[in-house]
């Protein structure tokens, strides 16, 4: 039977994603990826103060809550040729790195794990055997029989209550779940512990940025002045007297707390995340040969040790890999016409030059033009437009971005730690290098990358402390803060490696205001629909050929889609300067 399978909503992701799969018997012949929600943030950004833009852009996404703020301040700084002090660079590096570690761990345990871990099977586990399993993997101090017995009891109580809540209606008992009960119990325990861990480690963002989600940023530096004065003269005896507070959160107590968070992050990654990934992967080696997708990979690079204009100083290198060829890294130019372009052939947008042409983001043009089926609907018309995502291309080619792209780039460039970690993982799993080009490889690359980044954090922290000790407290450059110092017209691109992949914002400034703002985000690269040549993006390509054991329980689709860590609010937000003309907005 050649039926169309629809999975909507795809849950355990950020945002609104729909997958339609055209079946040939029990295998996927063609897949269609659709973003089903639009807000139009880029038009909202027009006419705004470029210094305010980060706060708007940051609301593109609350999961990777920092990345659009960073890309936006970097876009303004690039446009205004506005350097930031070394301390600000280091603090940004620490904040970005913390986002990676937080995001990747949460993705693994809270968004992805339930594709591999059968929660119900954990009830059959022997806590003692679970402890032995866990102790064999790492020296994590919580791996005791008593601890696992407690978790099992808590889980049993939950299941016995008859109210399964977030665990209801899942595919428990599906034959695709391969873990023994003890591994399932261990993973459930770590699901809960990762929840507790993550709310502690976000405090790094809170110290530098005042809150999380959505910490504060600043064009020209970072907002948190370094307070070396141990006394806060204004504190007095008011209601907020807490003791130990300095003038700002970035005092000696705050810095010690940052150091504590770095250690706490490293311990959890080392003792829990990395061993769990490898242990679970060992049961799913059949996923090391499917779900590849494109074989093309794109990175912009990030973590500067000098300025953003000096890519040679980046800890993560940029470049393009085509067709798995690790021997040739192609350079990427974000400013150049004809390199990065967005297509709308199958997107619910209109281009004035017709839907077939691609446009560079500086000339970016889009207008909401929904011509899909009228809700409620059962199926999309995939021959026409079927997504609120556009289709970005590099020199006309679709690209995968994200942890796998970055790990391959580091590997290709000969980064020692990466080669060691990749070698260790492949040896443990007894898999060849080509196993990286798969659903499993993508998930494992995310874990290995977390280890690489969490290890790098200490260096940035130490450098920050060394600067402070040497008397350099600067966190902000006021030279170009006043709009009167700006050129009448300028443009710039702010790029970074977000946890989900290469991210860039293009900003055009005219008369102190934003005249055009375009963002191409990681999930647009990965999740976008077909282009005008009918060529698929990474999600659609990766799903092709998947065999579904039971079309009513398409767990195979979830495994591969989740391996990309979709972030769909990010991917769908674009809208054109002139969009309003084509949109009829009915206000209530």
């Amino acid at each position: 039977m050649n039926e169309r399978i629809v999975v909507d909503p795809i849950t355990r992701i950020e945002g609104h994603l729909r997958i339609e799969a055209q079946m040939n018997g029990n295998s996927i012949e063609q897949a269609y990826s659709s973003g089903t929600m639009v807000r139009g943030l880029e038009i909202i950004l027009r006419e705004r103060d470029p210094r305010d833009a980060w706060a708007f852009a940051q609301r593109i996404c609350g999961v990777c809550t920092l990345v659009h703020g960073i890309a936006s301040v970097r876009a303004a700084e690039d446009a205004l040729n506005y350097p930031v002090p070394p301390n600000a660079q280091l603090i940004r590096n620490l904040m970005i790195a913390a986002q990676y570690v937080h995001d990747h761990v949460m993705h693994f345990y809270h968004l992805h794990a339930l594709d591999w871990v059968d929660v119900v099977s954990a009830l059959k586990a022997d806590p003692k055997a679970t402890a032995e399993l866990a102790q064999g993997l790492s020296r994590y101090p919580k791996s005791s029989p008593g601890h696992f017995a407690d978790v099992k009891k808590r889980l049993a109580g939950f299941v016995d209550s008859g109210q399964l809540g977030i665990f209801a209606n899942a595919y428990w008992g599906h034959p695709a779940y391969k873990l023994p009960p003890e591994a399932n119990l261990m993973a459930v325990a770590h699901y809960l512990e990762a929840l507790a861990w993550q709310r502690d480690v976000v405090k790094l963002h809170t110290i530098f940025g005042g809150k999380n989600p959505h910490p504060m940023f600043l064009v020209g530096g970072v907002p948190c002045a370094i307070s070396i004065d141990p006394q806060h003269g204004g504190r007095g005896h008011g209601p907020m007297y807490r003791g130990g507070d300095g003038a700002t959160a970035l005092n000696i107590v705050g810095l010690q707390q940052v150091q504590g968070v770095i250690a706490q992050m490293r311990d959890f990654v080392d003792q829990v995340y990395v061993p769990d990934t490898l242990a679970i992967a060992g049961f799913y080696k059949d996923w090391a040969s499917q779900g590849e997708g494109l074989g093309n990979f794109l990175c912009y690079g990030d973590f500067p040790s000098k300025g953003m204009d000096d890519p040679s100083s980046f800890f993560l290198p940029g470049g393009v890999i085509l067709g798995r060829d690790l021997g040739t890294i192609h350079p990427v130019d974000l400013d150049k016409d004809g390199e990065i372009e967005e297509f709308v052939a199958h997107s619910w947008y209109h281009y004035t030059g017709g839907k077939e042409k691609g446009l560079h983001p500086y000339k970016g043009e889009t207008a909401l033009a929904y011509d899909g089926p009228k809700p409620p609907f059962k199926q999309l018309d995939i021959d026409k437009s079927y997504s609120w995502m556009k289709s970005p291309r590099w020199k006309g080619k679709p690209m995968e971005v994200g942890p796998l792209a970055r790990v391959l780039m580091l590997y290709a460039k000969g980064h020692e730690q990466t080669k060691e970690l990749v070698g260790m993982a492949l040896k443990k799993l007894d898999l060849p290098l080509t196993a990286l080009y798969s659903t499993l490889g993508r998930t494992a690359a995310r874990t290995l990358e977390t280890r690489i980044i969490v290890d790098a954090m200490q260096g940035w922290y130490d450098q920050l402390i060394a600067n402070i000790r040497a008397g350099d407290l600067r966190t902000f450059n006021s030279d170009k803060w006043e709009p009167s110092t700006w050129p009448k017209q300028c443009q710039g691109v702010g790029f970074m490696e977000a946890p989900r992949g290469g991210l860039a914002h293009w900003m055009v400034i005219e008369n102190e205001r934003i005249s055009n703002y375009q963002a191409i985000v990681p999930s647009t690269w990965n999740a976008g629909p077909r282009d005008s040549q009918g060529i698929s993006g990474a999600y659609e390509a990766a799903l092709k050929g998947h065999v579904l054991h039971d079309a009513k329980q398409p767990i195979e689709i979830l495994r591969t889609i989740h391996s990309f860590d979709p972030c769909i609010a990010c991917a769908v937000h674009v809208m054109d300067p002139n969009g309003e003309e084509l949109v009829e907005v009915k206000m209530l």
Partner: protein, 363 residues
Amino acid sequence: MNTVETLGEILRRRGVSRRGFMKYCATTASLMALPPAMAETIAARLEKASRPSVIWLSFQECTGCTESMTRSHTPTLEGLILETVSLDYHHTLQAASGEGAEQAREQAMTANAGKYLLVVDGSIPMGDPGYSTIAGMSNVDMLLDAAKNAAAVIAVGSCAAFGGIPKAAPNPTGAVAVSSLVKDKPVINVPGCPPIPVVITGVLAHFLTFGGLPELDHLGRPRVFYGESIHDRCYRRPFYDRGLFAETFDDEGARKGWCLFKLGCKGPVTYNACATTKWNQGTSFPIQSGHGCIGCSEPDFWDLGGFYQALSMPTQKLGKVAGAAIAGGTIAGIAMAAHNRSMKASAKQSHERVSTDELEKGE
């Protein structure tokens, strides 16, 4: 489905002592600014309750509100979903996708008709139903369908409460707040971009305890969390009173923690608990980390002038911004100020915390 356990039974089975349970109730009473005697009442009601069904719908949103909820320390998210509520539909957290997910929502709505709590994050686009769909259904249809048999509706975050960023000028998708569409039900607004974690869980706890609404202000916000301006409770307030201001970022004043009013701080017109509960287990809040408040829990804060414009400066209007919104926000702020004073005592109580870890140990 098996027989449903009451919360009291669950806690006893989990080995939570009577004393530990009473401590939890006392904390809840304190969090809600209720007299200590109310702890007994809370205990009595909680012991009888099975875990109430919560259906969480996500529309035009960024998932920041859900992320914020996961950061709650008291109660914790895992405590909430395993022992306190039955979170029957929530895109980011639930295991089931597609049909299974939609069935879970429908089952919960049928089994708990009239009793479930509906939580919404994100605004609803009225420009075209195709601007945002879930399982082929428009957001407005899903909202009205789910609201019909809900006991109450909680609009979490500034988008659901007031329209938020999608509604910012020129509101390209015709985004509206939940309260613009749900008229026959109480709607509790819990604004903030995102709201403080403990405020989200605190409002849930109140509803679960009393089965009813906390006292709300004229904007539908619980007074206990939104009764006072950030400025009034700010640790930098003494500098404002003495006329000591940071003139630019990272100047001497900024390093000494002087008032950020001249750098655009919106604390004086923003009613939220940031300065008292702070963020992420009391670690800091924006002003303490050197950036002015951007007013993210106030209606239409995106269009109330630049984030770095001092409140005393004339607002730089965008061509597309309505002046009325600005005036409205300010007047609302002034009206609120009068109420603040009486709320100080209760707000103080609200930041004495007991961790759930302590509670779970029973002492």
